[in-house]
């Protein structure tokens, strides 16, 4: 553990030692996570509902926790990351996907940063065919209401993945569907004058997704969704 505050290391020394001392034998149970879930958890693409469903198991299963942490460590290895980008045929795409939640509050950085990654000749993958990306239609900017999100269809896409963030980058809502619009559930309560961001990804081939730009919107004060 790397502490931002060195004094904290001394303060919590006993607790750290206790946690490490609590190691346990690794045993497999029927609840243990499958490879797809471990991988999604490690790359941070598990949707909120799925993440909430696996947390109770992860809290008590050292084997699965270690596997998730191990794969996350591997994904942070520059050599592995480079080969993933090469194999996926789109250098830097993973950087984009992983960095997205943290950067969501600063959409301007995305707008500036993406062309910069794209123009970096190091580790560039072979030229790929131009892939059509989905275009968000509404809501964008200041709107009177935002009960649903809509985007333009992408030719050949059979599935769309929608993600809504708050200004802090926290994922508020995720959904996968075949349609080009989704109604927000009643459990999502949007606050007037607060900025929100969303993006949509289109599945254009087997394990190939093309992402829209991140767009921002807010609801005009006095008009709740």
């Amino acid at each position: 553990m790397t502490d931002p505050d060195p004094a904290a290391r001394d303060r919590f020394d006993l607790v750290r030692r206790a946690l490490v001392a609590l190691e346990a034998s690794e045993t497999t149970t029927p609840d243990c996570l499958d490879d797809d879930t471990i991988a999604a958890h490690a790359e941070g693409t598990l949707d909120a509902a799925a993440r909430a469903a696996v947390l109770p198991h992860l809290a008590t299963c050292r084997r699965c926790r270690a596997a998730v942490a191990s794969v996350a460590h591997a994904l942070a290895d520059p050599a592995v990351l480079r080969e993933i980008s090469r194999a996926d045929g789109a250098a830097g795409r993973r950087l984009w996907r992983i960095a997205l939640p943290a950067a969501a509050a600063a959409a301007i950085l995305v707008a500036i940063g993406l062309p910069r990654w794209g123009s970096d000749d190091r580790h560039r993958a072979p030229p790929q065919p131009v892939v059509q990306v989905p275009t968000p239609l509404a809501p964008i900017g200041v709107v009177a209401e935002a009960s649903a999100l809509r985007w333009a269809a992408v030719a050949g896409a059979d599935r769309y993945r929608l993600t809504l963030f708050d200004a802090g980058g926290r994922v508020l809502y995720e959904a996968q569907l075949g349609d080009t619009a989704v109604a927000l559930p009643d459990s999502i309560s949007l606050i007037p004058d607060h900025p929100y961001l969303w993006k949509v990804e289109a599945r254009t081939g087997w394990d190939r997704w093309s992402a829209s730009e991140l767009v921002q919107f807010s609801i005009a004060r006095g008009l709740l969704r």
Partner: protein, 257 residues
Amino acid sequence: MDDWVAELQAGKPESAWDRFLDRYRRLIFSAIRHYAQDYDDVMDVFAQVCEALRADDLRRLRCYVDQTDHRARFSTWLVTVVRHLTIDWFRHRDGRRRISTVAERLPPLQRRIFEHVFLDRRSHAEAYELIRTGETRDLSFKEYQAELRATYRAVTNGRRGGVLRELGAPPPPDVESDSPHYADRREAREFIARALGALSDEDRVAVELHVVEELPAADVARLLGLPNAKAVYNRVYRALELLRGQFERAGLSREDL
């Protein structure tokens, strides 16, 4: 659609395999090298990975392709599978023999500890009990801890250090305990487990991943859907503060661990 998937779905496993390997060979090697540094180990594990993926006309790959929905990208799924196969290789047969050579240079007691903890995946406490039931009945826990730390230092510094860190439990604390009764430590651990169990699942996973698995806070944030590393620090330190208060009130000390 990827060419290897098209070939697989067309019922041409051999052609699918060639195309798959052409595209993912380098990724497989890089994932193996993340865990194993020794050249011979890497080559043997690669052969094992290929054998496992090719088995039953590419059954594993076919199962993945046949799934209608995937939570992870294929490349990440593949890294996960390679990780498991690499660890399995080292835990069984040839891999086990290979890492057993690491133990040859160790003194007898450390060799026993190595076998219990790294090869048989026993917890440190279980390993101590097993060793005490054998020929080393008079081994104190304090002496055992010193030998355990020496074993970790010896085996995780070499060429196979990376994979051995994966195979073993988290390293033991770096201070010695002279608590005279094992029952006291067991009670202390039960108390720690109860305190940890009282945390919310999200807090507990954040603490375990950051403190025990040593995952950077930014990565923990990504895994748990938190906005940033600062949110992880806040959550983890709040939980640690809570645990610290409970430990202090219960009179828990380093010697109890």
